[in-house]
Subunit: 243 residues, 4 copies
Amino acid sequence: MEAPNYAGLRALLVNCSLTPDAETSHTGRLLDVVDHLMSGAGVEVDRLHLVEHQIAPGVQPDMREHGWDHDDWPDLWPRVEAADILVIGTPLWLGEESSVCRVLIERLYAMSAMLNERGQSIYYGKVGGAVITGNEDGVKHTSMSLLFAMQHLGLVIPPQADCGWLGEIGPGPSYGDPREGKPPVGFDNDFTRRNATIMSWNLMHTAHLLKEAGGLPTYGNDRNALADGELFGYAEPRAVPGT
Amino acid sequence: MEAPNYAGLRALLVNCSLTPDAETSHTGRLLDVVDHLMSGAGVEVDRLHLVEHQIAPGVQPDMREHGWDHDDWPDLWPRVEAADILVIGTPLWLGEESSVCRVLIERLYAMSAMLNERGQSIYYGKVGGAVITGNEDGVKHTSMSLLFAMQHLGLVIPPQADCGWLGEIGPGPSYGDPREGKPPVGFDNDFTRRNATIMSWNLMHTAHLLKEAGGLPTYGNDRNALADGELFGYAEPRAVPGT
Amino acid sequence: MEAPNYAGLRALLVNCSLTPDAETSHTGRLLDVVDHLMSGAGVEVDRLHLVEHQIAPGVQPDMREHGWDHDDWPDLWPRVEAADILVIGTPLWLGEESSVCRVLIERLYAMSAMLNERGQSIYYGKVGGAVITGNEDGVKHTSMSLLFAMQHLGLVIPPQADCGWLGEIGPGPSYGDPREGKPPVGFDNDFTRRNATIMSWNLMHTAHLLKEAGGLPTYGNDRNALADGELFGYAEPRAVPGT
Amino acid sequence: MEAPNYAGLRALLVNCSLTPDAETSHTGRLLDVVDHLMSGAGVEVDRLHLVEHQIAPGVQPDMREHGWDHDDWPDLWPRVEAADILVIGTPLWLGEESSVCRVLIERLYAMSAMLNERGQSIYYGKVGGAVITGNEDGVKHTSMSLLFAMQHLGLVIPPQADCGWLGEIGPGPSYGDPREGKPPVGFDNDFTRRNATIMSWNLMHTAHLLKEAGGLPTYGNDRNALADGELFGYAEPRAVPGT
């Protein structure tokens, strides 16, 4: 089969690792796989190691206007806005995404009042995926939360839009840790390899499809029209019979 | 604005209520809203009140071959297979979807070895949404679980693909319960009305887009090719530096 | 150290496996570990393989009064009521507990209007734990749901009250599957062994402590008094300053 | 009924609000209810508004040793260690706890290698509860995560150890917002009032019970003995019959 060329698409891969040094992030390694696949298809890939930036927690576009001395988010936002594809990568702690990842979700949510030029949520036209690694347990739980948040904001979630690596239950090594006489941890896991491949291509296919179509039609989701009382065909159902 | 016509699309709305009588299901009322919007756009809408059928729990296509006397699932499956749009409706109990809803998820999962004629998961080309009602608390939690399961199986999740109604925390009335001198419970909730409208249209827009495109390209997600070892550009990342 | 003797305590271990044959349930094997530890301490252990029984879904004490022909729950309830320790065992499907497990939660919830002779929830004085196995991913997510449900109903959750086994991410063998030249799958996992041990003993210690104390004092949780308007010291806080 | 006196117990109420000003936190108001009930019973109550402190994300006891310039956690830890009762309060954003709350969980987890003088987890002997407010949806979901984390660390979770307030689905006012001619938002909600009362008393009853008993017996949970290979009665189950 010939690989599609998706030049013209842009992807932002955000690593929500707690590790200050991007070079030693395990989650970063699986994001490298996504990066390689997308770059190879002509996609312009932007990488963001979030913990290198000083982002205030909160749900406003610029937290410097709400009591914080410093906030890098307003400077980072244009990189989110420019992306057709948003991939959120996170490690797992106690079965949940990192606190850095929750800061990201809060700040994405903070922009949700913005509309595109067609009156839709600013996130319409983008697609989203999740990359999660841990030494054990929690990819599905965390994907539930991240994919939910992204679709709620307005991104499309393609089929099988998450991937990850986990070892057997209990303490243990992490994705990409070197091993003597064997490939690094997780690199020989077919499930992880295939899901990373499927996710990356489905994100690109779906972003391309959306872009070619000029985004979703506005009928039913034009927030200005909804605010003006347009019903788009909505009708009240019957009441449930009283008891 | 002129409403799009989506004749040719088919939708299956599954109600996972615990109420044997479909007429008195509160969740069924919000599914009525979706039904009305989709039918009005020319979509052929099929309704399924799951608890009326005797479906065995399990993760095999036909549980009669695995120790159960009776199983209606094989007779219901063609209705799922025919649908371009799948909407799962569920009530909330202790903050979770109903047991009937989990039977549905198990049985959808049971078919996940099936491929379409292009080697993709049988669910590729479909889009999914969730409709949830409760007297309090749990729409987001349950949407996380249902939308995750659907994207994992291969459905596309459009933007803002869930809707629901919840009252203030604590025991209280349910969606559609009649009230004296006021609209039935929840019918005057703008958030519920708009989200049901947005969800319904986005499901139709996205299903139409996918159908017009002939589904997603197979590059990267063709399971026969993946099983044969095709890598689709996958390359191993570097190891994390040892410590 | 000398092992405590907990003769006089009763435990109910419920297996929510989808496997009709209890002998081939993987989750059942980890429940065997709990059974052995508790029986060895003198606890009277009752085992229930739920899928062998025909339990109607629903949230009423007896679903035969609500449209169902058959319902084994009323006959099973005395076994729950007699237990000082309740352990819920479940397999994982798509990262969630089984549908059979959700039927159990619904029916436990169905009894939550019952009070003990002191006016407390019928579940006060009991302690709860969770045993979860899957071939991959989901022990923590499912423990969250099961332990939450149990504490919500009125059980005490001791420290580290869950245990389980999971393999590396992706399809694979299950707990207890035989292997050539090695112990059965998961039996050599220290984390699983220790957590099963810790959980079992903490359930017994806590149940014993509660029983010796005659249950929790009723001050603040006597539902008859609360229904009569007793405040138990509750006072309204100040309002948040208006903006 | 006469209220018990629990002088000698200490409680730490942590507010994970995103609001820099503790005075305007809605979650803080429901924590005030808990504070009043516990103080009234003689408990020494310590309050912590976490966002006032500069706590590094991470899973180590002191992040200054891991690349961070500043970390207030080591100075705050003695207040956690001194508490018999730990209550975590959080607002809801996109149905999840705040990022500040996840920083707290990470840093509590960072201390989990510490043992008490009896070889048990440092958190043994403490009890935990959760207080959650939002304008809509998510108390149960977030309680699942917080109570799970606390029991995993070694705290006991008493019956009905969470409380919260939520309004009807959609944007709306928050707990404690002033209203003309009516009590502030949520103050007239019986469910919230009762659950706050029940939770507060059950936390005190259970902490008292544990303290009187000198904590849980160490049999089965002594981590030094477990590390030395002590089995505490653990025995391997049979394998699942091969197929």
